[in-house]
Structure formats: C-alpha cells, structure tokens
C-alpha cells in the first residue's frame, strides 16, 4: 500500500497514481500491493452501463425514428403527387428538398452531441444548402450569395470564437473582427468590384471598433450598472452611425462635414456628458459617504 508523495494520503492497494493529483506511484510491486475490491465496480469499457441514461438515449432514439418516419411519408407523398400531377404545373423536387433539409434540422439536434458550436455549425451548413438549393431552382444563383455571406458572418462572429481551445477572448475577438471585415468586403465585391468598402465601410468599422475598445477598457473588471452599459452601447452606436455619414461625405467629395447625422452627434455628446457626470457624481458621493464604489 503506497502513499502519494505530493498529497501524503494513503492509496488503495494496487493504485498506480494518486486520484487527487495524478502523481504516478513509483515503488516496488510489494509496496503498491495487490489490487483489492475497488470502491465501485469499473464501468463497462463501451460506456454503456445499465443505468438511467440508457433510457434517455432510448427516448431520443424514438424521436429520431419518428422524425425519419415523418420525413419518409412526406417525401413519398410528394413524389407520388409529382408523378400524378402534370409535370409543367407541379414539380416535387423543391418541396422534397425542403422537407429533407427541414428534417435534417430536427435530426441534427437529436443525433449529435447537444453542444452549441456543433449544432450551430450543422445548422449553418444545412441553411446554406437549403438557400442555395432554393435559389438554384430557377437554374441561376443570385440572392443566395448575400445570404451565404450573412450566415458566414454569423458563424465567424458567434460560433467560431466558442470553438477555440486556447485564449478564447483574444482569438475569438480577432475572429469576430476578421469575419465582419470579410463580410463587408464580400458584400461590396458582389456588386462588381470594390467601391465603398475601403473609403466608407472600413473606416466606419474601425471607428466603432475603437469605441468598443475604449468601452471595454473602461468597464474591464468592474461591475457596471445596467443603465451605464446600455448608454455606453448607445453612445458607440451613435458614433458609428455618425462616422458613417462623415466618411460617405468624404467619399463623394462633399465639402460639408456632416449632413443628416448632426442630430446623432448631438445625442452622442449628450450621452457622453451624462455618463461622465454620472460617474463623477457617484465617485464624489462615495468619497464623502465612505462607501466602496462597486
């Protein structure tokens, strides 16, 4: 019977590592001892021990079979209808495709591991296939490019960051930023060549990004009041919208500094003054009342 050299606890006979710190037991077989009766019997190697979880799986299998059955009935019915009805007035291909992909939405949740990233990724793929399929039904692709780009933006900004294993915040933020820039670039090029991406979209996006950076530094590691955080986001939105107007005027060579966004800038200034005043007043109040500011 051995002791763990790190934890100092006595281990069960036959133990080759400490359950608390996973330190290997380096000792002679005599000291380690013969394996006795374990605390609990080992789980079956295939992971299918006879407990309640099997019942959960059984129920899930029932739903899978039910969904597949409904899909099968709908597809067969549509196929028969396609043969029965004149081909020029009704084609079953599009409804069959939609039923199949719709069934895939349900099956994706039931078949796979219930993880956000996994299910979101599968949904992204199915949605892209569905939209391209519907768009391609009239033998040419058009509007689906924009949809695919938007879905790609969703995946890059809201799914990919959660799939990262290391430094999630840093690399996730980078992934979201790159996705936004790529989205704007692709939308611009879909209209035929680069037009507004460099002079308007990119500077506006960078302005918003700087605003968000200042916001995150301000509120980092602080318990922020709800009102303050909402107003902070309103301020950044105003600045983003206003800067969009500003860069558009520069792009068209207009001499004016601002056109329609003057009121937005005034609103942004008011919000900023309110935030600064509210913060200062609270600090002064806490100082005189000896409270901890959190």
């Amino acid at each position: 019977m051995a002791y763990c050299v790190r934890c100092g606890v006595k281990l069960e006979p036959g133990s080759v590592e400490c359950p608390l710190c996973q330190t290997q037991v380096i000792a002679s077989a005599e000291i380690i001892g013969q394996r006795g009766t374990p605390l609990f019997p080992p789980a079956p190697s295939n992971g299918k021990d006879k407990d309640e979880h099997l019942r959960v799986d059984k129920r899930r299998r029932g739903f899978i079979e039910l969904t597949a059955a409904f899909m099968g009935i709908a597809i067969v019915t549509l196929a028969i209808a396609g043969f029965a009805i004149d081909g020029n007035t009704f084609s079953p291909v599009l409804p069959i495709g939609c039923v199949f992909l719709g069934g895939c939405y349900v099956l994706a949740v039931l078949l796979g591991k219930p993880e956000y990233t996994r299910i979101a990724s599968i949904y992204v793929i199915i949605t892209i296939i569905l939209l391209v399929f519907i768009d391609f039904f009239d033998r040419q692709l058009g509007w689906s490019y924009y949809c695919v780009a938007s879905i790609g933006l969703f995946w890059g900004a809201l799914v990919l960051p959660f799939m990262l294993k290391r430094r999630k915040v840093l690399y996730g933020t980078l992934a979201a930023i790159v996705s936004c820039v790529l989205f704007l670039f692709i939308i611009d090029t879909l209209d035929g060549g680069i037009a507004w991406f460099l002079p308007i979209a990119l500077p506006t996006f960078l302005t918003v990004l700087v605003g968000l950076l200042v916001y995150s530094i301000r509120f980092r590691k602080k318990e922020v009041q709800v009102g303050e955080s909402v107003l902070g986001i309103v301020l950044i939105a105003c600045i983003g919208v206003g800067s969009g107007d500003f860069y558009t005027l520069r792009f068209f060579g207009d001499e004016r500094w601002l056109s329609w966004s003057t009121n937005v800038w005034i609103a942004a200034a008011c919000v900023l003054v309110f935030l600064v005043a509210s913060h200062s007043i609270r600090k002064v109040r806490f100082y005189f009342s000896n409270k901890i500011s959190h």
Partner: protein, 460 residues
C-alpha cells in the same frame, strides 16, 4: 445527546402540542390515496434534471457475503414496516404528489457511478428508491422527495438488520431499526414541517451569490467520487483542540479549502465572492419529531474573503458562532415559517404545475444553489446494535452534486472510522478534494483514499 444538553444548545425542546396541526396529511381521490409531498420535498421534482438528480446513497460494507435473492426477501419483509416508502411520484395539475405503490420490488447489482438520475416511472419499477448489492455491500439510493438522510439511514439499518437475521445472525435492539411486524408509528409518515409551522410572517432574505469553482475542462453526468477514510478519534481530537464539534471542524476545513481555491483561481481580491457552505441540520430532536420523511433545515455558515484572508482559527470561530446561533427553536421556526408560508401562498398553491416548475427552478437557484459554494452533510457516527457491529466494516454516504454546486461532501462514521465522500461532475479536477484532504494530512490525520475515476488501478 442528553435532553439537558440539547436544551442548552437549542434553548428549549419544542413539543407537538405547542404548534398548529390543521393540515390534513392525506386524502383520497377516487380509489387512490393522494399523499402530498412534504414541504422540503416539493422543490425536488420540478428541479429534477440530468445534472440535478437529487439522489443520495447510503451503503454498508459487510464482512459476510451478500446474496441478491436473500436481500430481496429482506427488502420485501422490511417494506411492510415502511409503508411510506411504498409510494410512487406523480405530476398533478397543481402539485406533484405521491400515491401508494405495490409493484414488484427488485434489487440491482452495484454499478460504477452512484447517485445516478432515477427515472420516476421506470427507474426502480416506479419506486423512489433503489437497492443495490455486490458481494460485500448493501446500498440504497433514495430520491430526496421521499425522505432525508436520517430516514434513509433508518431504512438501510432495518434492511441490513433483516438481511443479517435471514443469514442467521442475532441482532440486538436499536431504536433506529424497525422490525417487520412492529406497529408503524403515528408520526413516521407525517410532514413535520406542517406540524411545527407558526405563521410568523417572516421575510425572504436573499443571500448574495457565493463562490463556485468554475475552472474546469469537462463535466460528466456520471458522478465521480473521492472517498476518504479517517479515524473519528483523530478528527475529534482536532475538534477538541479548536473547541468545536466534528461537523463544525469539517465545515471550517471545507471553507478554508474553498478560500485557498478562490485565491488560486480568481485574480484580484475585489472579485472574490463570499464562501458559504450549506449544512443540513437534522431538526427531529429539536422539535421532538418521529417523521421518517424530510425534516431537515439548512444552516449556511459563510465568510467574506473580500474583507481579507481568514486564518483557520477565525474560520472556526465564524462557523461555531453561525451554526450555534442558527440551531435554536426561534431561528429554525422562522425557516419553517418561511418555507411553509411559501407553499401555502395562494398564488403558488393554485398555479398550474407547468408554470410552477420554472418558478421553483428560479427560486431554488437564487435562494439555494447560488447562495452557497457546496454542501456538507454529516450524518454522524452510526450506532449499531450487537450482532451488526461485528459484521458492518464500513458505511458510506453520498450526495448527488448539482450543476451549480459541482462538488458535494457527505460524511458518515461507523466503528471508529469516518468516510468523507466527495462527489462531483468534474471529470478531471479534484482541486477542492485535494485542498481539503491535504489539510487534514498536514494536521497529522492519516487519510486513506479511493475513487471511481479513470483507470488508476493496475490491471484494470
């Protein structure tokens, strides 16, 4: 504990006649007898989930071999003395309720992970408990809506005693062993919360959220166990050294372990959260109750590490002050009043179950799970009568962890040895367990551990 000492601790011992007794315990609906859940149990069914099984397990390891067929006979005999265990759980329109249940009883071979989710329809043929066995062990896993640890312990002791009698071993008398054929006590199936309810008009005090260990990589719904065996005399010696009881000492050690883990995992002190431990207190002796259903309340000693590092002696002082300050008739009556008043609130009482479920879940999280860092339940040293004392070599107690509190601790002692069992959902991390147990080792207590985790035993 003598009555005088108990009165010194609790103020005075309450009697049933001091309290109102106006709620019918059972009523019939057609041919079926409807048994309402007790006040503590009503929270369990709506919050039942894969990671919240609300199960606890009690087991005894014997020196004689255990046979499944003989155990089944013992179980069938014992069940005649525990009619309040022959029930099944149902979901009504307004409340969950119990009805009498007389389907075939079964005993199940021991499995790898304790406190697994129990399907109320099929898990144990409709019963709310499951009896397990292996070559040297008899164990019961019980859904908490049925009874608390004390009720479960009485059931296990009676079952083991009956098994030993069937094996030809003579068992001495013990007040916690109910022999088949003896009359069922009038108060055994009562909801004592309703008996001892006094309309005090107490308010709902919400405690701030406590620290929860959150730096983990993988969780699994298979409950992972670290089981430590220590000498009761060793822990008692340390308790005497700090002038506290064994429970108070273990709670203080657990708080200290959480304090160290918070320091290791949280960067700045200003982000520290209070550390609070939920300690179930068996209040049967305080209120002179014989109930075998739930009759436990919770004391939650806490420290706030934002105010600075607490030395162990300071933690012990805080724990002693808070536990002893809470375990008295007035404080406990206030808790009962709060809980029962909530149940009797017409808004909650006549709301459909489908709406009540999510409300219960929110209440359970915000007033329960989130306000404490973990639970430690100490059943104490199990006294065994002659005949059993020589045969029972070890007892164990396991509580199921929950999604918020991924680590739970439960303690039971028998024949001079104490089992401190940690259960958790974390596949790899054992930080809390390590901090707790190495602190005992550092204070000179020999600790022997076993687990049900990854293959660590040679040849497995």
């Amino acid at each position: 504990m003598s009555r005088r000492r108990l009165e010194a601790l609790c103020g005075s011992v309450a009697h049933k006649r001091d309290f109102t007794y106006d709620i019918p315990m059972r009523f019939t609906w057609g041919a079926e007898e409807i048994i309402p859940l007790d006040n503590a149990a009503i929270i369990y069914p709506p919050t039942l989930a894969r990671y919240n099984s609300h199960m606890f397990r009690l087991s005894m390891d014997l020196t004689i071999p255990v046979e499944g067929s003989r155990l089944l006979v013992a179980l069938e005999r014992v069940m005649t003395r525990f009619p309040y265990f022959s029930v099944s759980l149902h979901q009504g329109f307004f409340w969950y309720y119990l009805t009498n249940h007389h389907k075939k009883l079964s005993v199940y071979p021991e499995h790898a992970y304790p406190c697994a989710f129990l399907d109320r329809h099929h898990g144990a043929n409709g019963y709310l408990f499951k009896v397990f066995w292996r070559e040297d062990r008899i164990a019961v896993e019980i859904f908490h809506a049925l009874c608390d640890g004390t009720g479960g312990l009485v059931f296990l002791k009676s079952l083991v005693a009956e098994y030993l009698r069937l094996s030809g071993i003579e068992i001495g008398e013990d007040p916690q062993i109910f022999r088949p054929g003896t009359p069922v006590g009038r108060g055994e199936s009562d909801d004592s919360f309703q008996h001892f309810y006094k309309p005090l008009g107490s308010v709902m005090n919400r405690e701030p959220a406590a620290f929860h260990y959150a730096r983990f990589e993988e969780i699994s719904d298979r409950v992972q166990v670290i089981s430590a065996q220590v000498g009761i005399a060793d822990v008692k010696r340390l308790g005497t050294q700090y002038d506290c009881t064994i429970t108070e000492y273990l709670v203080a050690e657990l708080i200290d372990a959480f304090q160290r883990v918070q320091e290791q995992t949280v960067g700045s002190r200003k982000h520290y959260k209070p550390i609070s431990i939920s300690v179930p207190v068996n209040i049967r002796r305080v209120f002179d109750s014989d109930s075998m259903r739930n009759f436990t309340l919770f004391v939650t000693p806490r420290i706030n590490p934002r105010l600075g590092y607490y030395e162990f002696e300071e933690i012990v002082q805080q724990v002693k002050f808070q536990i002893r300050g809470s375990v008295n008739i007035k404080s406990l009556s206030q808790q009962i009043s709060r809980n029962v008043a909530g149940e009797r609130n017409p808004l909650l009482r006549f709301a459909p179950n489908i709406l009540k479920g999510p409300v219960m879940k929110i209440l359970s999280d915000s007033y329960g799970d989130k306000t404490y860092s973990t639970t430690i339940s100490n059943i104490g040293e199990v006294k065994l009568p002659s005949g059993m004392r020589e045969v029972v070599k070890r007892a164990d107690f396991y509580l199921s962890p929950s999604k918020s509190n991924k680590v739970s601790c439960s303690v039971v002692g028998v024949n001079g040895m104490m089992s401190i069992n940690f259960t958790n959902f974390l596949v790899k991390q054992t930080v809390i367990e390590r901090e707790f147990l190495t602190a005992l080792v550092a204070k000179g207590i020999p600790v022997r551990i076993a687990d049900n985790r990854n293959p660590h035993v040679s040849g497995r």
